[in-house]
Subunit: 341 residues, 2 copies
């Protein structure tokens, strides 16, 4: 097993307080690797970073059109959102189009990410529901796909339900791999998550961004969801979230989606490249710095002031004093420099 290098350092004052080891692959749609650091063949659970693929049946089946879903709904179907009011309302509206409701969601409930949004629930004497779950858009998409396809959505989170079988088939096709039972785990929202080699994740992201290697209908659906996510970044995550703010700062030239346990999948359609990141220890803060460093380098924007807060995030304390920050390691900086256009 290759030694996975330190790609991100966390400083406090002038000392490195913590460090993160991560693997990263940049690939085109034919699997030509532009950059590979760490354990590039390691099978990783992509978690929420492949929601774009899990949402393909919703579009390919015609359900999205039948229910009149626009860019906001498609972005939400591939989102890990904060549970802010507009996310919740949009997921509810998606379900209503299929004459379904929150009661049909099987993702479980958790409090919204932001205390402001929790506060409104508390003041109203309410608990969070399944619509507040960060995956509610994806689950609304599953329910809508089932209803349009004439499938009973009940039990749609189970691995042998037609909805999950369709999602699995899409993953196998896009990432060019067979997903056996030994690679199956259960995600936070109760659907299966399938371990996929990191390099195949990167290649698949390039395929989604270019349509290369995909059937025409699938290529069109992928392009539509990716463009929707880039056009509506608030729906993909929300206020003060990396995916939302980074895609916004890039001005629409890249797609980036987080997954739990330090995973990131991203793509730059204009370059025909896909990117996949796995932080060994599962830290999102490090995966974010890696994906930002690689994308900034590929775009020739490593010194762009508007990207500085993603490349070298500052750490502040409860009194808003600057106490440290994150930075790409020398090894990552050196490797990224080879990507310059």
């Amino acid at each position: 097993m290759p030694v996975v290098p330190i790609l991100v350092e966390v400083l406090r004052g002038s000392l490195v307080e913590s460090a993160h080891r991560a693997s990263v692959v940049v690939s085109d749609a034919e699997g030509r690797v532009r950059l590979g650091l760490g354990d590039t063949a390691r099978a990783v659970f992509p978690r929420s970073a492949v929601k774009i693929v899990q949402a393909l049946p919703l579009v390919e089946s015609g359900a999205a059109d039948a229910y009149g879903f626009g860019a906001q709904e498609l972005a939400l179907a591939a989102a890990s959102h904060n549970g802010e009011d507009w996310h919740v309302a949009t997921a509810a509206a998606m379900l209503a189009r299929a004459h379904r409701s929150e009661a049909d969601l099987e993702c479980g409930a958790h409090w919204p990410a932001r205390q402001e949004d929790c506060g409104r629930l508390h003041v109203a004497g309410l608990k969070p529901g399944a619509l507040h779950n960060n995956c509610s858009g994806k689950h609304a998409g599953f329910v809508c796909y089932a209803c349009h396809a004439g499938i009973d959505p009940k039990g749609y989170t189970a691995v042998d339900h037609p909805v999950q079988q369709a999602a699995k088939a899409a993953l196998e096709d896009v990432f060019g791999t067979v997903l056996g039972v030994e690679s199956c785990g259960i995600d936070g929202c109760s659907i299966p998550t399938w371990a996929i080699p990191l390099d195949r994740l990167a290649t698949g992201m390039a395929r989604l961004a270019t349509g290369q290697g995909l059937a025409p209908g699938r290529a069109a659906a992928a392009r539509r969801i990716m463009e929707a996510s880039i056009a509506e970044p608030f729906m993909v995550a929300g206020t003060k979230r990396f995916c939302t703010d980074f895609m916004t700062a890039l001005g629409g030239v890249a797609y980036a989606k987080t997954g739990a346990e330090g995973v990131f999948c991203a793509a730059i359609p204009s370059l025909g490249l896909g990117i996949a990141v796995k932080c060994d220890d599962g830290a999102s803060r490090a995966a974010e710095v890696v994906v930002a460093t690689v994308i900034a380098a590929l775009l020739g924007r490593s010194d762009a002031p508007e990207l500085e807060r993603f490349l070298r995030p500052v750490l502040t304390n409860w009194n808003r004093m600057t106490v440290g920050g994150l930075r790409p390691s020398a090894e990552l900086v050196e490797a990224a420099a080879t990507l310059a256009p």
Copy 2:
């Protein structure tokens, strides 16, 4: 620099999803190392794991007695608490004894750890204050020490203020090291945090637990705060927190205190041993498993059912399905086996 080994694995289904590298030292009060894994000489910011030392001047000066502080107040002075009602009320009462109030705290404010407690603030139309800060007990202790010693507490978080100079002198004495400006960072609550070699942290914890190598007054003060923390574990952290629940499950035979960025300091007074842990990537979840594994082994309780949830914590999802768990790595299990009594 020694290679730091993987000591904790995170499983999803049957696959290792993430892994944590950590260093750990078990030492007696004279610096004889019973166990050393990883980079045992590395200087680490101990953060909140040495609050017991920072609270020594409060007791040594006579302030704690003058203000009538019992075990709960002393435990809170060395706590990283949840900001639950009783934590907040106790910190406020400590300040009131010195005719001071929340306005004198310089730690900054943040929301309580538990949504239940946030909810009560929201319903009352309130924002959290400095008393809700997880460090408010420590800061109340600083203010009380200053007032009793005739020092103006204003500015007590600054590195050159007499309060921080007293805390620094206690750290240097207990851990047997000189803390130069190059080892100074700023903590989340704005006081200085000083980088200290991991092996010295372990030796110092053994000194605190035994009194060996400390002046009599300091030894008595250390024993008093450690015994208070063991006797009042709720005050050290709070509901569903590792420090509270682990010390409770151990039935009073060990002291354990978390610090941010994957640090843990602990001690077993009856064995005269101190323990220090630093997870490379800063993950508390891994530091907890390491400290639990080492303490259980030292006590001959590695198979104790009541400790299972600390040694091999189960991961559940939003529907409360078991999806995976944490476990000590084979290397850690093997090393811990050598510690059996």
